[in-house]
Amino acid sequence: MTHSFAVVAMKKYWHVINIGIQNTLVYRVNFLFRAVFALIPLAAILFLWRAIYAGKESGVEVAGYTLAQMISYYLLVTIVDALTAVNEDDWQIASDIKDGNISQFLLKPIDYLTYRLCLFGTGRLIYTAIAVVPVTLFILQQREFFVAPPDWGTFGWFLVSTAMTALLQFFMSYTMAMLAFWVLEVSTFIFILFAFEYIAGGHLFPLNILPPMLAQVLYYTPFPYQMFFPVSIYLGQTSGPALWEGLGIQAFWVIATYGLARFFWSRGIRKYSAVGG
């Protein structure tokens, strides 16, 4: 019996994914614009680092990074970001709650979190498929600075970690959007969280160029696992016991944020039903 239940569930969410693909394809031009526009600040930051390295003797390292490694870092951030970043999912979830659109999900045999996860997945899939053209061209233009991973095993763990990054990003945004049950205007809170994710996650600079004490503290927060960790695996900086420990912490945060997402949803629904009568 459980087998057929699983098949029914699969079929159900397969429909959601199909609809998701069709809905996101509407925004393909928008996605292309966004992917191209995102390359401009990337190019700017690469210029900045080039100027810094140019002021030193050639071949010198800055905080343990050669110029090629530094440029590779930012290129990998761009790739992982395309694969995992929450786009407008949090805004949409918040407005679903605010406008009462979630009522229909309470009546249907469909789980809202799974539903949103399917949409998030399709959104990332289509975005990546569209961004792959401009991003590949950009990387080809920088190819002399793009380093390969040390071996295939490392690359495999990079993919595993990137998948967990995507889940972590999604569950954190989902939990944040649950605020809409209690607060009228959630955008400021989303921007505040985003600021922390941006700097403590490693979007702006690799976290291991920070003073070691500060970097050590950050490793126990969820933020590095939203970006920095998979990139550091790819670059061969995290291996051996540190790799297993990091993957463990990352898995812990994925499960924890999943629990929080479920918890705040059930609390929110209780309040939501009460207001709706």
Binding site: V29, G55, F191
Partner: protein, 278 residues
């Protein structure tokens, strides 16, 4: 219907007084509106301060590993961050919402109503709302600039300060002209709001020292979208890095070109406007 001009018989001081009265009323409206959502108003200031702090910490981390970017020292770059934040926030205070809302005015047909008002339509659209939080954030930028100035042991003359303010105003004028120009695209497509926000994201480039850039990138962001001029030139005046007065002339020249271009496109657009509702 052409953009209406001031009443022909009105003398200069008279119309100026009239427009100032209207602008004062718009200010009063904005204050009342903002005070209706006090918590939100304060939270947005927190968000802006956080992002400003974030940019500053990025530069502090970078400068913990290097002494210079090109010829720019740490506190000179902090001055640049402060200067560009100052310009961006004043732009936000006066123009940002007004520019981004043009597409909304067109989509909902509210523009028709504004065209009928007996004032210049572009004036009305450009100055409709004031974002008061922008002034608070601009003040935080000034505080950072003063601190950086102290670290650099700068003793700017009054002429330099006045020059900075003037050049900053010219920078804001460039941003306003370009954003208004892009917003005018909404007369033809509903996607314009995305383009306008795309432009706003380019502000990120303005706070980086121009020396770091080379080739095509530098040319585009100096002479097409002059991001590398708007904050760099005024700040270089303050920290005495201007290589020649020519840089100031280029900034001024670009401002005039951008303003003229945006006025041209605006007039053309309004002439071809056929309301959303009818």
């Amino acid at each position: 219907m052409p953009a209406d001009t001031p009443h022909p018989t009105a003398r200069a001081p008279h119309w100026l007084r009239r427009y100032l009265t209207i602008y004062a009323a718009l200010w009063k409206n904005s204050i009342v509106r903002e005070m209706g959502f006090k918590t939100n108003f304060l939270l947005w200031i927190v968000v802006e301060m956080l992002w400003f702090a974030l940019q500053l910490s990025f530069m502090f981390v970078v400068y913990s590993h290097t002494d210079r970017i090109g010829t720019w020292s740490k506190w000179q770059v902090v001055m640049l961050l402060g200067g560009s934040h100052f310009i961006q926030q004043l732009f936000t205070a006066f123009f940002l919402t007004n520019c981004t809302q043009l597409s909304e005015l067109i989509r909902t047909g509210k523009l028709d109503f504004m065209l009928l008002l007996p004032v210049n339509t572009r004036f009305m659209i450009s100055f409709r709302q004031v974002d008061l939080g922008g002034f608070v954030n601009a003040a935080s930028a000034v505080a950072v600039m003063i601190y950086a100035g102290n670290q650099l042991q700068l003793t700017p003359t009054w002429a330099q300060v006045a020059g900075f303010i003037l050049l900053a105003a010219v920078g804001i004028l460039i941003h306003y002209s370009l954003m208004f120009l892009l917003a005018s695209v909404s007369f033809w497509t509903v996607r314009a709001q995305g383009i306008v926000w795309g432009y706003y994201n380019l502000f990120n480039i303005a706070r980086l020292p121009d020396e770091a850039f080379r080739g095509l990138f530098k040319a585009v962001f100096t002479f097409a979208l002059p991001m590398l001029l708007v904050a760099n030139v005024p700040v270089k005046l303050l920290v005495r890095k201007l290589s020649s007065p020519l840089e100031m002339m280029v900034l001024l020249g670009m401002a005039i070109v951008c303003l003229a271009l945006s006025e041209g496109v605006w007039r053309f657009s309004v002439r071809h406007y056929t309301s959303a509702s009818s």
